[in-house]
Amino acid sequence: MTMKIGVYICECGPNISEKVDIDKVIDAVSSMSDVAVVDRYKLLCSSDGKKFLEEEIKKHGLTHLVVSACSPKQHEKTFMEVCENAGINPYLFQIVNIREQCAWITEDKDEATEKAIRLTKAAIRRVRYHAPLEKKEIECNTDVLVIGGGIAGIEASLQLVSANRKVYLVEKTQSIGGLLTNFEKTFPDMQPSSALINQKIQSLNNNENIKVFTDSEVEEVLGFFGNFEIKVKKKAEEEPIEFDVGAVVVATGSNIFDPKKTPQYGYGKFDNVINSLEFEKMNLSGKISLKNGKIPKSVAIIHCVGRNEKKYCSEICCMYSLKFVRYLTNKIPDVKVSNFYSDLCLPGKSYQKFYEQTKGNTDFVRSMDVKITEKDGKLNIEYKDETGKKSDLSVDMVILSSAIEPTSDASKLAEIIGMSQGDGGFFAEEHEKLGPVSTSTEGVYVVGSSQDPKSISETMVQSEAAAGEILSSLVPGKKIEPEVKVSHISESLCTGCKTCLSVCSYGVITFNEEKKISVVNEAICRGCGNCAAACPSGAATIKHFTFDQIYQELMEAVK
């Protein structure tokens, strides 16, 4: 079928027509080969304008369309719809920006006209090389794998599960509940943690659509958004369990920093120097006591343990330290508590109040260079106060508020799933602002303190957020519609050098070992075109921004 290009120039009222001599443009491009019709219209984006275009396409049996009007950001979509309605493939169309980037920025009318001609010619040359692109639809599995059985994973599972959606919850240890099960209460509301967690675990266990694997670890994650293949290995079992899911939620939580790495605090050396988790457990057991069974009369809480080593603030230590003050004064009314801190971090609306209500029961010592020694059976805290003056304090017990750090096996998991680790070794979210729970691997989400230190409340919100993303994109019965302007690698040209694999930011290119060539997963390619520019043999191309298409524009530009 012969090519019939229709070229239409929008007057955009006076905006283009006053700056560009449209008739000159029409004359200049009419003679170009394959151009079937050239015409002008007062406002093509208006409903009349769209109708006019549609009729023109049908009347002249056009195969391609060029519209010289405004920025693609304004109306590319509009005219692509016109194409669809008129029955030509929307990608056999090119919009020319002769308003924002011609009429509006050019003083002299002749110059603006000359530029409009150049831009329109370039588009005509380009559109000749356009190929029709078809929307694809991909069947997707709507089940979800949740990794980690702490509050983050549990909340995500409960939000996600439905009659039509199975959730597989994989927990490394022998029981679910996570860190929270060690806490008596949560700040700032000081409600019993059990109230929060037990009832959730209940409904989790009662739901036959949630399959819980304890003592298990994820061994393999293959495939892509909507179609992941999972292998889970259960301890003491030979064969891994295999199943398919559409999305993966990573909720593996965090560890606390090991105070042995900060010897100045004497942790592991002195009996009554304990870390925050040990204290939570002790408190939960109902009795706060020293190694010798005696009740401590004085307790020091040291903030920011490991902050200098980790090089970030763990956000919640100040608050849980204040919670410890409540624990202590509750169980030991006459106890003397001192907090050694440098900066109080109480972000958000309700933490300061908690602080105000607690500070009466404790001293706050802004201090530096804290060091702990043992002196006749008691612990002696040497420190510099904020004026730099040396001072010390003798106490029965010291609690170290340790930093939050990624779990030791984080990098192993990152490897298996193909996630990247960002600052502090925490899993990297896709975008610091707009993509807080998604990752650069589509369909893989990260929530809770495996992404960044955070409170229980923030963690649950993230779990709900991940649920929001998944529920809105993986709907039973609905197919996924991937981007169509994606990259493609020619089998016959690819030499298998893997350059494209190394430059792709989204890991959508894989290597076919039999054929020794790279293959793009078009279902998840974002279409940046990095691989196309990186490939020295020209095997990789990016649809709708091919070498030929750009070359044609270029040649008109340098003519």
Partner: protein
């Protein structure tokens, strides 16, 4: 399903970053969304920032793609210059009355050529630019605003003050300007409501000791954001009222913290960002930050702080800070950590005021029938400080209307609210689709 009429549309109040993200996600799931925005533009306060901490990403580059997506989304019914007047009913079938003010400029016909601005004889302070530049009675808040369609400020427009001025109408080639447009009252049935109305900035005049409003060259954070903005009143050039370039600046943290009784979570970080702003335009400038406790939680922010410190900024832990002016000179008087009185001469002072609830938050809460907390933010379910669930089933709160927070947490909450809505009805909805 049959028994009681169930709506599936969702109402989102506020087209800031939280409202936009929530709407787009809901639309992606196939829901129809009614997005009600009080102003004439989308993007809320994020579009006032040139860059955002801690990666210093260009804010416009970050947000304008989602704004474009929003404007082109056929599932989203964007109602600008609109406010919720009345809400009846409960989860699943709320009836909402919305009052939509006339824009007097037709969104379809207007092509954003701005030809109507020049002929307008009225000139006013531009609120969006914190009064640092002028606008006309027909105007868009700033270049690049989306939608790029002006509105008419009927309070000042001569035409609406009975004069015979039609200047803008005559200048418009698209019959886009329609003085006959009427305010509308719209009634909607929705399943659920997401409140994302954002925040106000604490009025620094309430803390006279910092001299704001009395002393020239004492700026609030928002004013300074606009000063630095490349699409702002000075195209990003930072200079003093007298046109000179400042050689030194003081940034004062925690303005209004004592008054509000909470920490606003983002001030330390955006104050550090201001370092970057100042240094990138005036490399030799001397900067001093006055703070009490540095609040930079999370994995990325300390790194950012260290980077800012490298630029030679002086971090002064101080209390009883006061700003005075004698002759030409601005003095910051303070007590340092040893309790010693000290002072510092600077050319410019930037205040980092607290984040506070929108002035009309309580009104909206009344209309919605949900409770606010003691500070006037929307209250989370029981004591849960971060929860998006309000006291009324089917109504959720996301972003800074729920409490001061950074963009990341606002977006998390927006998505969480969507998660809650979809989760509550997923079996039914999905049942419908699969059936």
């Amino acid at each position: 399903m049959g028994e009681k009429k169930q709506h599936t549309d969702v109402l989102v109040i506020g087209a800031g970053i939280a409202g936009i993200e929530a709407s787009l996600l809901l639309s992606k799931s196939g829901r129809r969304v009614h997005l009600v925005e009080k102003t004439s533009y989308t993007g809320g306060s994020v579009i006032k920032f040139e860059e955002v901490f801690s990666n210093m990403e260009c804010s416009t580059c970050m947000v304008s793609p989602v704004q474009q997506e929003l404007l082109q989304d056929k599932n989203i019914n964007l109602l600008m210059l609109a406010e919720v007047e009345e809400v009846k009913g409960s989860l699943g079938n709320f009836t909402v009355k919305i009052r939509k003010k006339a824009r007097y400029v037709d969104l379809q016909n207007c092509i954003g050529c701005n030809a109507c601005f020049d002929p307008c004889p009225v000139s006013l302070k531009n609120e969006f630019e914190e009064g640092l530049s002028e606008r006309k009675a027909i105007y868009v808040p700033c270049a690049g605003a989306l939608p790029n369609v002006p509105m008419i400020d009927t309070e000042h427009c001569l035409h609406f003050k009975g004069k015979s001025c039609n200047a803008c109408q005559e200048a418009c080639a698209f019959e886009a300007i329609d003085f006959k447009q009427k305010d509308e009252s719209i009634e909607l049935g929705v399943e659920a409501i997401i409140v994302a109305t954002g925040y106000d900035i604490f009025d620094s005049k309430k803390t006279p000791k910092y001299g704001y409003g009395k002393i020239d060259d004492v700026y609030t954070a928002m004013e300074f954001e606009r000063l630095y903005a490349s699409n702002g009143p000075t195209e990003g050039q930072i200079f003093l009222k007298n046109g000179k370039t400042p050689k030194s600046a003081a940034i004062i943290h925690c303005v209004g913290r004592d008054e509000k009784g909470y920490c606003s979570a983002v001030c330390c970080l955006y104050s550090l960002k201001f370092n970057h702003y100042l240094k990138s335009k005036i490399p030799e400038i001397k900067i001093s930050e006055f703070y009490t406790d540095l609040c930079i939680p999370g994995k990325s922010h300390q790194k950012f702080y260290e980077k800012m410190k490298e630029t030679g900024t002086q971090m002064i832990r101080a209390n009883v800070v006061e700003v005075t002016k004698s002759g030409k000179e601005i003095t910051v008087n303070y007590k340092d950590e040893n309790g010693k009185k000290s002072n510092l001469l600077v050319d410019m002072v930037i205040l980092a005021p607290a984040i506070e609830p929108k002035s009309d938050a309580s009104e909206l809460a009344k209309i919605l029938g949900v409770s606010l907390d003691e500070y006037g933010f929307f209250k989370g379910e029981n004591q849960d400080v971060f929860s998006v669930v309000t006291s009324k089933p089917g109504i959720f709160a996301a972003g800074c209307c729920q409490g001061p927070k950074n963009i990341q947490n606002s977006v998390s909450q927006a998505n969480a609210a969507v998660g809650k809505i979809l989760s509550a009805t997923k079996t039914k909805m999905e049942g419908d689709i699969t059936a």
